[in-house]
Each structure stands twice: as structure tokens, then as C-alpha cells.
């Protein structure tokens, strides 16, 4: 399979990465080179093979459903570009 320019723009939008018009053609070439490379996987017989879900056989660790951490609001917002009263500020999303 290969991607056309429209698909490149659609993927970029899904990935939330702005691409300028002059970036589309080179990206299309690079993505198609990767897709051509992975094409060979189609030759493998995977009938009856389970997809891997965990590389080591282990049961998911569980713990009691209790509060184990918290009261770190200052530290949590310390790296944010814009904050107010321990809230992250973003551009208006509701009119």
C-alpha cells in the first residue's frame, strides 16, 4: 500500500502535526519508502498465530484501590506553559 498527498495531510491532521504544502511531497516519499519496506510482511503465513500482547508471560500487577500519592499541585503545574490557580490554561474550547 502507498499513501497519496491527501492521505499524508489526513494523517498529519490525525497526528495533530501541522504540515506546510512544501512538506507534503517529501513526507509522502519517506512514508511510502517505509510502507514499501514493511510490505514483505504480507509474505508470512500467520494462520492461527496469536498476536503478541505481552513479551514476557506475567500477570498484570495489581494493588489495593487506595490513594497512594497526591497533594503535589505545585509540582504538577510547575512546567506548564500557562497556568492559573493550579489549573492548566488552554485556548477557549467552548463558545
Amino acid at each position: 500500500m502507498s499513501v497519496d498527498a491527501t492521505t499524508v495531510r489526513r494523517i498529519a491532521h490525525l497526528a495533530r502535526i501541522a504540515v506546510s504544502e512544501d512538506e507534503v511531497a517529501p513526507l509522502q516519499g519517506e512514508l511510502n519508502a517505509i510502507l514499501a519496506f514493511v510490505e514483505q510482511l504480507g509474505a508470512v503465513d500467520v494462520t492461527g498465530v496469536e498476536p503478541m500482547t505481552s513479551v514476557t508471560p506475567m500477570a498484570m500487577k495489581k494493588r489495593r484501590d487506595v490513594v497512594t500519592d497526591g497533594a503535589k499541585a505545585d509540582a504538577i503545574v510547575a512546567n506548564a506553559p500557562e497556568t492559573e490557580d493550579h489549573y492548566f490554561l488552554v485556548p477557549k474550547v467552548v463558545e
Binding site: 494523517i11 517505509i34 514493511v38 508470512v44 498465530v49 503478541m52
Partner: protein, 498 residues
């Protein structure tokens, strides 16, 4: 040691430095100062992104107090470099990306916390490929790392490999006694091979991933790079261990890795997988591989040819699985909670502009491939198929081990280090092929070690890889020590940069 017999502290091995500190032959403060001075002279290599001299000296003085009190811990006073993918409390952490410029973690990664618990000293943060995506350290937003190695009679700038290029270069140039690194497809083993150093990627789950910036979570694993097999064993002993904060971190005790170094290989069966004899393999690499097998045989191992039939599919399957996981992991860089923010006409525009400005070309490429293979209509054809092939790759190894193979010997890389700017500018796949021998190990979650085994015709180091059973790093240390003893420790290059 110099010819005149005076000790150059930063040229000691980690084990020698540890023993010298214990014997009070020098102080931890002296040892740290020797490294800080070497780092200052080596800034042209661009291995360190951040130097932390004040913190280093404070930690070294605390170590001297512990030693004086007879309370030395396993890594007391040992100066280390930390790949800038590990969060360090109060010290900038960028993952080699503009999108994390200015980010200062409020917490310490599990790996680095374990090292400080054992008395190690932080020298600074090491350069890397952006988000660990690369095989040459050329995708870093903060510039290329230059290898301390040069081809005989040439001053062409060579890459140190990647993504742990800063770690490997710093260890090879004596800018730390050892370094932390991470490996998702070969990012510890390939740079170690390129720089004449030793690097081990432990079994998936041996080391906690908590606080390490994520690339592809089912493949990422941290490990050390150091100048000897023993030094790697010492470091892994401190880095590893159970951690409730990482649900994939195994609840297993940490073996005495350093003791395993002296075990030898008598009675072990070493597999030589015929599928690794790839088309176009150079005679030099083939000869190195044969020599490695002979070294193990001379030390008492049995060598047996084996077959791992799905080997050639590991690299393409990786370029579906890893980008898919990356596209999900890197969704968090949205200009809201940390790092860069670039305004836009609305919130989606802000996300898109932030990520366009903050991510480099290779990272964007992988996020987009990952987004595509996970998108509606393509998920089964790409992602599910790749995960089925991963099951087959792992099964190949399981069958070899079930048939009595203790470890597998392969080349670490297809060739020695290449020049800055020589590969991958047109076709990204050219660079991806660097990892052809290492990537199967990540896909199967196994441990793998790269150990120097000789030099190529141009005088550059070449490495061999040993692949082990799950959670059997001990056999790898034992076998790698046999190769290190037989091949002789690599003579690291003289400091042309200083």
C-alpha cells in the same frame, strides 16, 4: 595509567575506581574533578547536553564522608553520565527534543534513583537521538555527537551510533566511568559496538521504566554502557530491580551479576543462527563472527548452528509496532502540561503548531507512520499482523533455547561506524538497516550484550552480540567476558579533541 605510572583517574575502569576509593588511594572528589576537567576539554564532541559540576562535587563529598565512615555503598563515589531520557529531579531533561526544552522534572526516574541510592555521582545529562529515535545521534535537536574514534589517517567526523550516542561517546572518551542508556531496537548495543565499549540491553522487565521518557513501551528497556564487561555487570546490578510503579517490571530478585563475570562458558552450548549471515555481509564481519565462535569454543563451549527462520521479518515488523506505540506515547506533547507551546487559531491549531515546531523530522515521520497503521481500516493489515509476526519471532528463540542452546552469538552491527551525514538522508530505511542484528532481541523481549571483538581494516571497533534466555543476563556476562579476555580490551583512541 600513563607510561610514567601516574594514575589518570578518569581512565580507570569503574571496578578499579571503586577499589581505589575503598583503599583510599584517591578521593571521590578527586575522581569527580578529573572527569569534570575531561568533560570541559571534550565539549567539541557534544556528548553532554548538561553538565552538573556543583551537584557532582556535592555528591562526591557526601561519598567521601560515607567512605570515611566505613559505610560505602556499591557505587560509592562513582561518577556517571545519564542519558537525557531519564528524568532527573531538578535537572533539565529534554529527550533530545525541542518540545521538552526547559522541562525540569519534579521527580527522579527509578533507574537514576537506584544509582544515587547506591552512592553514584551525577556528572551530567548525555545527548541522544530525539526521543531515542535514530541510529547515529544525528536526530538530536541539540546537534550531532562526534565519536572519539577516527578512521586511520583521516579526520572525517564519525557518528557514535544511536540512540545512546552521547552515552557511548562519553564512555569511550573517558568522560564518565559508565553511563545509563536505553535500547528499543539496538540503541545500547549498536553505539557500544561503534565505540569499542560494552553495552547490555537486559530482559524486558528487568529494569523499571518508571520516569524514563517513553518511545515504544513494549520494547524500551534501560541498561548500562561501560568500558568492560565487569563494569556493565556492576552497573546493571544497581539499575535493575522490582518496582511497583512499572506494571511490566518483573518482581524478581537481582542476581549477583558481577559474580557471573568469572563463570566461564565451559559446558555451554552457543548457537550460531544461519539467518544472520545476511546477503552482502562483509568478509570482515564474517571473520569477526567466526573468531568470536572460536574464542568461546576454546574456552570450553560447544558451538552449534541454529535456525531462527523469522529473523528477516523483525525489522519491518518493528517499523510498524514501534511507530504505533510512539504515536500513542508522544500524544502527551500537546503544549498544555509541559514544554513548548506555539499558539494557533484554536486549540487544535495550538496542538498542531506546537507539535510541528517541537518535533524533528524523524520523530514526525514515525508518529505519522504509527498514526497511519493504527487508523481505521489498516489496523488489522498492519498492526495485528506485525504483532502476530512478533509471536513467531519469539517462538523461534524459544525453540532454540528448548533445544539446549544457552546463548546465541551474532555480529552486533553490519559494519563499523560511518561518517556524519553519510546515511539515511534520502531513504529512512537505509538508516533503519543499522539495527538488523539487534532488533529481533527487542521484539522477543530477550537480553542482549554487545562486546568489542576487534578492529576493522580502517582501525575502527567492531562488536559481537550475545543473546540470552529471558532473565539470564548472567550467562551473557560470562560469555562476553570470555570474548573480552580473548580479544583483549579495546585500546580507546587518544584524546585528539582535548
Amino acid at each position: 595509567m600513563t607510561a610514567s605510572g601516574t594514575t589518570i583517574l578518569n581512565e580507570l575502569t569503574l571496578a578499579e575506581a571503586r577499589d581505589g576509593l575503598k583503599a583510599k588511594a584517591f578521593s571521590a572528589a578527586d575522581l569527580t574533578r578529573a572527569h569534570l576537567a575531561a568533560m570541559e576539554k571534550a565539549r567539541g564532541l557534544n556528548a553532554y547536553l548538561v553538565e552538573t559540576p556543583d551537584q557532582a562535587l556535592t555528591m562526591a563529598q557526601a561519598a567521601d564522608a560515607k567512605i570515611a565512615a566505613g559505610e560505602a555503598r556499591p557505587l560509592e563515589g562513582i561518577p556517571l553520565g545519564i542519558k537525557d531520557l531519564f528524568c532527573t529531579e531538578g535537572v533539565a531533561t529534554t529527550a533530545g527534543s525541542k518540545i521538552l526544552e526547559g522541562f525540569t522534572p519534579a521527580y527522579e526516574s527509578a533507574v537514576t534513583a537506584n544509582l544515587w541510592r547506591d552512592g553514584a555521582v551525577l556528572l551530567g545529562k548525555l545527548n541522544l537521538d530525539e526521543f531515542a529515535m535514530g541510529s547515529s545521534n544525528e536526530t538530536s535537536a541539540y546537534g550531532d555527537v562526534v565519536s572519539p574514534w577516527r578512521r586511520a589517517g583521516s579526520d572525517t567526523r564519525l557518528v557514535p551510533g544511536g540512540s545512546s550516542g552521547g552515552s557511548a561517546a562519553a564512555v569511550a572518551a573517558h568522560l564518565c566511568l559508565g553511563a545509563t542508556a536505553t535500547d528499543t531496537g539496538g540503541s545500547i548495543r549498536q553505539p557500544a559496538a561503534f565505540t569499542g565499549t560494552v553495552g547490555i540491553k537486559p530482559t524486558y522487565g528487568r529494569v523499571s521504566r518508571w520516569g524514563t521518557v517513553a518511545y515504544a513501551s513494549s520494547l524500551d528497556q534501560a541498561g548500562p554502557i561501560a568500558r568492560t564487561v565487569r563494569d556493565c555487570a556492576i552497573l546493571l546490578g544497581s539499575m535493575a530491580g522490582a518496582d511497583a510503579r512499572d506494571t511490566t517490571c518483573a518482581d524478581l530478585p537481582v542476581p549477583d551479576f558481577e559474580a557471573a563475570v568469572a563463570r566461564g562458558v565451559k559446558g555451554l552450548t552457543i548457537g550460531i543462527p544461519k539467518e544472520y549471515r545476511v546477503e552482502g555481509m562483509s568478509a570482515e564481519i564474517q571473520a569477526l563472527w567466526d573468531q568470536g565462535a572460536a574464542m568461546l569454543k576454546d574456552a570450553g563451549a560447544t558451538i552449534r548452528e541454529i535456525s531462527l527462520p523469522h529473523t528477516s521479518y523483525a525489522l519491518p515488523a518493528y517499523y510498524i509496532v514501534a511507530p504505533a506505540e510512539a504515536s500513542s506515547n508522544l500524544a502527551r506533547y500537546d503544549g498544555v502540561r509541559y514544554g513548548l507551546r506555539v499558539p494557533g487559531k484554536d486549540i487544535a491549531g495550538m496542538y498542531e503548531n506546537t507539535r510541528a515546531a517541537g518535533f524533528g523530522r524523524e520523530v514526525k515521520r514515525r508518529i505519522m507512520i504509527g498514526t497511519y497503521v493504527l487508523s481505521a481500516g489498516y489496523y488489522d493489515a498492519y498492526y495485528v499482523r506485525a504483532q502476530k509476526i512478533r509471536t513467531l519471532i519469539k517462538r523461534d528463540f524459544e525453540e532454540a533455547y528448548a533445544a539446549g542452546i544457552d546463548a546465541i552469538l551474532t555480529p552486533a552491527t553490519p559494519a563499523a561506524a560511518f561518517g556524519v551525514g553519510e546515511k539515511g538522508s534520502g531513504d529512512p530505511v537505509e538508516m533503519y538497516l543499522q539495527d538488523v542484528f539487534t532488533i529481533t532481541v527487542n521484539m522477543a523481549g530477550l537480553p542482549g550484550i554487545s562486546v568489542p571483538a576487534g578492529l576493522d581494516a580502517q582501525g575502527l571497533p567492531l562488536g559481537l552480540q550475545l543473546i540470552g534466555r529471558p532473565f539470564d543476563e548472567e550467562t551473557l556476562f560470562a560469555a562476553a567476558q570470555v570474548i573480552e579476555d580473548a580479544a583483549g580490551r579495546t585500546r580507546l583512541p587518544p584524546a585528539w579533541w582535548a
